[in-house]
Symmetry: C2
Subunit: 181 residues, 2 copies
């Protein structure tokens, strides 16, 4: 059923996502859907929480800049593929449903927690001048991609993932994230 939710979101957005449509797409009775989720917000939250069960871990390239660039490349490919993508559809849904918004927050926090190892490894290799706020570093690296592609809706620029990674790594080397929260 969660696959049906993703397919519907991509095709018709949040407005096309109804319990009836999910039931039809998944080939189950609508009461089966209602038994598990009381509304569309709860359904969306479940899609996002399920995504947190995947075994994803951040790339390990041997350098901070390389890890951030590889991470950004994944984000870029998810957002800049042309045509509808599930990431954008879920973020758009977060502006419609408080439950989806809360699930999105949990999803992001889980991803940032998994990525903390990127900063720990960099510190271990001596790439940082001292303790760093890993979350701030990771947000600095990735935020420009979401900003340009999702909010500003600028034309996708293939140099963007690496440029944003390079800038965040340079700031980290300069000690700009030196005050852990």
């Amino acid at each position: 059923m969660l696959e049906a939710v993703g397919a519907l979101l991509l095709e018709a957005g949040y407005d096309g996502l109804t319990v009836d449509a999910v039931a039809e797409r998944a080939g189950v009775h609508r009461t089966t859907v209602y038994r598990r989720w009381r509304d569309v917000g709860a359904l969306l939250a479940d899609v996002l929480d399920t995504a947190s069960d995947d075994p994803w871990s951040p790339p390990d390239t041997g350098s901070l800049e390389g890890d951030l660039a590889a991470l950004n490349q994944e984000v870029y490919e998810a957002l800049a593929g042309g045509g509808p993508n599930l990431t954008t559809a879920l973020i758009a849904a977060g502006f419609r449903s408080p439950e989806a918004a809360a699930a999105l927050s949990r999803f992001w926090e889980d991803r940032y927690a998994r990525c903390a190892v990127v900063v720990t490894r960099a510190a271990g290799r001596g790439e940082l001048p001292g303790p760093a706020d890993g979350r701030a570093l990771l947000v600095a690296a990735t935020a420009p991609l979401y900003h340009e592609l999702l909010l500003v809706r600028a034309a996708p620029e293939p140099a963007l993932p690496h440029r944003a990674a390079r800038a965040a790594a340079a700031a980290a080397r300069a000690g700009a994230f030196g005050t852990p929260r």
Copy 2:
């Protein structure tokens, strides 16, 4: 009438924004609204294009880091005030209406163009090691705020505006934005 659009967006979001509601709020006949805008997307586009007519210019504090921090403080106050805000409502509307999305893109581009002077001034003061991609620098400084407050929906953290400014300025001083587009 544009004020009525803003008030309605804040109160009821995109779904509450109908031509009838705008006419009632503005105290005009619905045909008056229809004569000027054929639909809600066109109305929203006009609100955003009108915002570009304001005399806003970026703060001038005497240093790159200071200018970016002051800029970020403005963004932070717009987004983190608690309760609904027009910036978030307009960005949410951009996920609903292609016309609002296009107008938002124009609005952002106009703001980044006006902010280019922040980078030019920094270069003039010798704060940068060489030519810099001003747009990339400005996005690096501001994107973490939109990311944390609008997408991740993290709890507003008063240190965020200055921390993001400090990181972008450090990256700029290290030459990380050295390849102008």
